[in-house]
């Protein structure tokens, strides 16, 4: 049996781009909807996913796992691809008495790693978001749009970001990122 492959199949930016653009491949992703303020949910996420529930517009990362604030009642939990079903089941048990929804959406999105000093500037060519250091420090996340499609992105480290979109749009986003990061088109503002 062949192995599952991500939609972009580890594609990376060609030469001539000012930032690194690389498909992260298979990433475990779980949508968790629930009352993010409830102690039960915070406890469950901490216990099961091993991570703190992020504050609004923030993302938390620890030991390769992540939690992205998606909306007032939605988190995106990131884990290993083969751990997503286990995570869903564990959340279901931990929150058995609380109204919630946990869904494995590992195949629904492409996760692309963006690296380098110019990432904010490239994203600002599409997203109506203040991406300056002051407004978008490490650990910030935002759902927005670029190139006509819905995306989410977050800043994992000074020079490392992740951007996600629904897999059916992945090629479009990848192409948009390449077009928007061509050498010679630097803005010099962010």
């Amino acid at each position: 049996m062949s192995e599952p492959v991500s939609i972009l199949n580890r594609a990376a930016a060609p030469a001539g781009c000012t930032i690194g653009i690389e498909d992260r491949g298979l990433v475990g992703q779980v949508t968790l909807r629930g009352d993010l303020a409830s102690p039960a949910l915070k406890k469950a996420v901490k216990a099961v996913a091993g991570i703190d529930v992020p504050k609004p517009l923030r993302v938390t990362f620890k030991d390769g796992k992540g939690a992205v604030w998606m909306s007032p009642d939605e988190l995106l939990l990131l884990t290993d691809y083969d751990q997503a079903d286990t995570l869903v089941a564990a959340l279901g048990q931990a929150l058995a008495r609380d109204h919630h929804m946990a869904v494995n959406v590992s195949d629904a999105r492409a996760v692309i790693t963006l690296s380098g000093g110019g990432v904010a500037e490239v994203l600002a060519k599409g997203a109506p978001v203040d991406l300056s250091e002051a407004a978008f420090p490490v650990g910030t996340a935002r759902r927005t749009h670029v190139g006509g499609i819905a995306v989410g992105f977050w800043r994992k480290a000074e020079r490392e970001w992740e951007i996600v979109c629904f897999r059916s749009f992945a090629r479009h986003l990848f192409d948009w990122l390449i077009e928007s990061s061509k050498a010679g088109g630097e803005v010099g503002d962010l």
């Binding site: 049996m1 062949s2 109204h99 929804m101 590992s106 006509g148 629904f166 192409d175 077009e179 010679g184």
Partner: protein
């Protein structure tokens, strides 16, 4: 470069010679030239012809306000019409062509308009409205073709643009528009206070007019030096961004501004660099430091090449070392123009006379001029300019107390006329978003009056403030003081009160008061044989404005449209104030009573490319691709768009056309087994203790009674009762459902669910998630479907007993984790198999391999459509159009009568939705089985002869040739259709042909459903 001075030109780099061509002639200029300054340097005084009369025109201005010198610039795919020579930076190999002439600039047939116009009032105000009324046919065949040929500005490019464009989102505390003295001072003050500042300047140079004036000191140094120092300081500040070649084109609500950056216009074809970048700026405060523009004066033949704005003459001398003429006449109503007299004199030109409309001229600058032995003629004006393609002289006279041209006629020979009617603050941006103005009678200008209304932010506070001369402070000292205070205040309003930038002390010559002067008549009969131009670009004269007033136009907005004054690409930058002052004069009203026209973005034209940004070619619109897209593409898929998706219409084999492929795919699915990529189907997970209750409200039929492991077809209506989506609902567990939607409907339905949950039914404990992209979904349909699954290998019991029609199971097939739905849209034994999308290709390949001996073939959307029509299944968007309710489609069985409520229930009880005679779904069998009804064909009550109206009773909604039945089939919505079984309907088509079809049951094939129940 005949007119180039031996020295001078603060913007020039004389070490860099640049070669360019104008109308095919190779010319030279210097680095730092604009196309306009280089043309003038080469003594190209006449540079185009006018829009309406094709009169010879020269360069009037030196900046963005230029109305005349519009050029076609570039070649081939980079050709662009209507580029202002004054804002086009010169580059190596620039190719420029003048416009609005045929066959050549020097000899132009259209110029005959002007000849006729000198004898009769051709093309006067409202000319088009009045003239082409009769005979009607003449418009189409005579007037319009001739006018279209002669009129219009420039020619559109004929090839696709090879350049790239992009957008950029920027955020700042304070956006300062304008890099002149005021803008620099405001930016410095705001920046020192700690605000995040974005300073933009439309030209390539900082300092604005400071570069062209020699009599202004700031902090004890020449103004240009002070400006240069500010730029250095600002460039070193972390919190300040400086952008030149960046024009703020529009101001919109709540501090949103568009800035048009011309990144590589001056260096075309730089690799990687976009040509233009459109900045989409969100600013907390906007300081409009856009300066002021000089007004022309309206006198006879004031459009003759060589008649220029006084400030422009000064600019060409001082900024670019170009002397536009050797013998000058200066005509003005204010002191500022005397700076031009001095500049001309210093550059070696002879100023034959200064004509000043003021009866007594006493200012400092005029005294300096007199000291140079230059005659100043008080109370005098220009009666008429002589010369055709270039000024040869002026006829002057005394302006009498009643404004007539009197005294002794005198002729002065000259080759350049510098005129100044005073200065108008550039309030465009401020006005874009509601900033109000007040007429300043003493300064003869409209100035911002925020107390009457100003642009405001989301919090209701004023967010746009004018500074410097844009705020009406025409003296440098007042402008800088005002700008510093404005910059500091803006920063403070954004919460930044850091270091205080000390207001620099500026000194500039005192100016005596200006005298309002709007019109200088020629001698004799009014405007006889001459034209006093008000709007140069649209060829509107003072006589046109006067005629409009005589004909009853009182509102300036109406006069503008009647005369077309101010409606050209320059938006009346040099004409609006003069025009409305003339109108006020003619109406005997005060200028404030006449009011102003409305300023709208953009300030100057911006490229379509900049607006488009990167959204062109493949990035124009995102295409959604299924997990099997690449396989489809590699295996003959002939794609069709289905909402944002690309789906295979059919899979064509070599030598096959679409029709043959579709026929093969249908027959194979009916006789053996077919495989469909159904991944695009919308899939929404719904979960929660109230999920059943919620779905009962959303769907017309009962969903809460659905048991885990079961599927049910459901209909969704909007609150008006109309059907808008359908699909199979699967109960995947206790309080857990999966909703299938149409391919195009997933986002819409998900939004619909969330809206009801968030705004109306927030008390329901339900969560939803759009999982459309999570799953690859494949339909295996046909008599051999079960055998295919068995061959592919599965531990799921797929026997008819264990997994009957409309049931659901989970497990593995061919090693892939799957959700297996036994549902059918083809009427065949059918399974839809969903696997996580990253496994999609594996599953597809396995099914194809397993089905090989069983005759499996992939089929596309058209086969799907035909097969569902054979079964009488509706298609959202075919059988529905937003006005159709389930009952119209014979789907009353899926509308619950037991439920207390659901979306659309109440609406469906309205009289119009319950009346008899509504259009109802029927099947149609054409009399001639081989003929297929055209889609959308209308059925009529009675066929009447050609030309007579026929009453329509319905239309065809789906129509195909059915290979299964070897005949055409169709569905239609027909008035009272259910009661018309057996009736024959007539469908009149184009060319008098009438097709006839019998009303039949819409289920054409296997009415008992035996094929899917095996």
């Amino acid at each position: 470069m005949a007119n180039r001075l031996n020295s001078g030109g603060t913007l020039l780099d004389r070490s860099q010679t640049i070669i360019f061509t104008f109308n095919g002639e190779s010319l030279q200029g210097f680095e730092g030239d604009t196309l306009a300054s280089a043309l003038l340097a080469n003594d190209k005084v006449m540079v185009g012809r006018s829009f309406k009369y094709h009169r010879p025109r020269g360069i009037l201005a030196s900046g963005a306000e230029e109305p005349n010198a519009l050029m076609g610039v570039g070649e081939g795919p980079r050709f662009e019409p209507n580029q202002r020579a004054t804002t086009t930076e010169l580059y190596h190999g620039l190719v420029a062509k003048s416009q609005n002439h045929w066959p050549s600039l020097n000899f132009d047939i259209g110029g005959i308009n002007a000849k006729i116009a000198s004898l009769a009032p051709v093309f006067s105000a409202g000319f088009y409205y009045k003239t082409f009324m009769f005979p009607r046919a003449a418009w189409k065949h005579l007037y319009e073709p001739v006018i279209r040929n002669a009129a219009g500005l420039g020619k559109p490019p004929t090839e696709a643009d090879p350049d790239t464009y992009e957008h950029f989102h920027a955020f700042c505390d304070v956006l300062v528009v304008g890099g002149g003295l005021a803008g620099l001072a405001a930016a410095r003050a705001a920046g020192e206070a700690g605000a995040k500042v974005l300073l933009v300047e439309q030209t390539a140079h900082w300092g604005g007019r400071a570069n062209a004036e020699t009599d202004i000191d700031v902090d004890g140094q020449p103004a240009a030096d002070w400006a240069a120092r500010q730029v250095d300081e600002l460039a070193g500040m972390e919190n300040v961004t400086l952008r030149s070649r960046a024009m703020a084109s529009g101001l919109y609500d709540h501090g949103y501004a568009l800035v048009y950056e011309r990144v590589s216009d001056h260096r075309p074809g730089q690799p990687g660099a976009p040509r233009h970048r459109l900045w989409r700026v969100r600013a907390k405060r906007i300081i409009v430091a856009t300066g002021a523009l000089e007004r022309p004066l309206a006198f006879a033949n004031n459009d003759t090449p060589g008649v220029m704005l006084a400030s422009a003459v000064r600019d060409y001398i001082r900024l670019w070392g170009v002397l536009p003429g050797h013998k000058a006449v200066v005509y003005a109503n204010n002191d500022d123009a005397y700076r031009t007299v001095i500049a001309l004199h210093q550059a070696g030109a002879r100023v034959a006379a200064v004509l000043d409309v003021r009866a007594q001229v006493t200012g400092t600058l005029p005294d300096q001029v007199r000291a140079l032995q230059i005659p100043v003629r008080e109370g005098h004006g220009i009666g008429k300019v002589s010369g055709g393609k270039r000024v040869t002289g002026v006829e002057i006279g005394r302006i009498t107390g009643t404004g007539q041209m009197g005294g002794r006629a005198e002729h002065i020979a000259c080759d350049v006329v510098a005129m100044s009617g005073g200065w108008s603050p550039v309030v465009h941006l401020y006005s874009h978003c509601g900033g109000k103005l007040v007429w300043d009678d003493a300064a003869v200008m409209f100035r911002p009056a925020p107390e009457r209304g100003a642009p405001t932010g989301h919090d209701g506070a004023i967010n746009t403030i004018c500074a410097g001369s844009a705020d009406g402070h025409l003296s440098t000292s007042a402008a800088i003081a005002n700008a510093v205070a404005t910059g500091r205040a803006a920063a403070a309003e954004c919460g930044h009160q850091g270091a205080k930038f000390p207001a620099p002390k500026a000194s500039d010559p005192a100016m005596a008061p200006i005298a309002a002067h709007w019109f200088t008549p020629s001698r004799g009969n009014y405007a006889h044989g001459t034209k006093h131009f008000v709007d140069f670009q649209n060829d509107v004269t003072a006589a046109d404005v006067r005629l409009a007033a005589r004909e009853g136009y009182e509102s300036v907005e109406h006069t503008k449209r009647y005369t077309t004054m101010g409606m050209a690409t320059d938006q009346g930058k040099t004409s609006n104030i003069n025009g409305l002052a003339l109108l006020a004069d003619e109406l005997g009203a005060e200028i404030p009573a006449v009011g102003t026209t409305t300023f709208r973005p953009p300030y100057t034209p911006i490229s379509f490319g900049a607006i488009t940004g990167s959204a062109k070619g493949p990035l124009f619109k995102a295409i959604r691709k299924s997990p099997l897209h690449d396989w489809n593409a590699a295996n003959g898929a002939d794609f069709e768009p289905v909402s944002d998706w690309q789906r295979p219409y059919c899979y064509r084999r070599p030598g096959e056309d679409r029709h043959a492929a579709v026929t093969r795919e249908i027959l194979n699915a009916r006789q053996k087994v077919g495989l469909l990529d159904a991944s695009t189907l919308g899939k929404i997970a719904v979960k929660g203790p109230d999920a059943g209750k919620f779905l009962d409200l959303i769907y017309t039929n009962m969903m809460s009674s659905l048991k885990p492991g079961k599927c049910r077809y459901g209909l969704m209506c909007n609150e008006n009762g109309f059907l808008f989506d359908d699909g199979v609902v699967v109960c995947t567990g206790e309080d857990e459902y999966l909703l299938h939607t149409t391919s195009g409907g997933s986002d819409r339905v998900h939004g619909h669910l969330e809206e009801w949950l968030q705004t109306e039914w927030w008390d329901l404990k339900v969560y939803t998630a759009n999982v459309t992209d999570q799953w690859a979904q494949v339909a295996v349909a046909g008599p051999n479907a079960r055998a295919v699954l068995e061959a592919a290998g599965t531990e799921i019991d797929i026997s008819a007993e264990a997994l009957p029609f409309m049931s659901y199971a989970e497990g593995q097939i061919a090693g892939c984790p799957v959700r297996l739905y036994r549902i059918s849209f083809s009427g065949e034994l059918s399974y839809e198999i969903a696997t996580p999308a990253n496994h999609g290709q594996i599953l597809w390949d396995a099914l194809l391999a397993a089905g090989q001996p069983l005759g499996i073939m992939p089929y596309g959307t058209e086969a799907l459509h035909v097969m569902r029509a054979e079964k009488g299944f509706i298609m959202i968007g075919d059988e529905t159009d937003g006005t159709v309710i389930p009952q119209d489609l014979g789907l009353s069985w899926a509308v619950s009568k037991k439920k207390e409520d659901f979306l659309g229930k109440r609406a469906q009880e309205r009289i119009d939705l319950t009346r008899s005679g509504r259009k109802q779904l029927v099947g149609l069998a054409t009399e001639e089985p081989s003929e297929v009804l055209p889609d959308g064909a209308h059925a009529v009550a009675e066929v009447r002869p050609d030309g007579l109206k026929m009453r329509t009773i319905g239309h065809v909604t789906s129509t195909y040739f059915s290979p299964t039945l070897d005949r055409s089939i169709a569905m239609a919505l027909i008035e009272g259709g259910a009661a018309r079984m057996g009736e024959t309907l007539s469908f009149p088509l184009e060319g008098g042909k009438v097709m006839r079809a019998t009303v039949v049951d819409p289920v054409f094939y296997d009415r008992q459903g035996a094929r899917q129940n095996v």
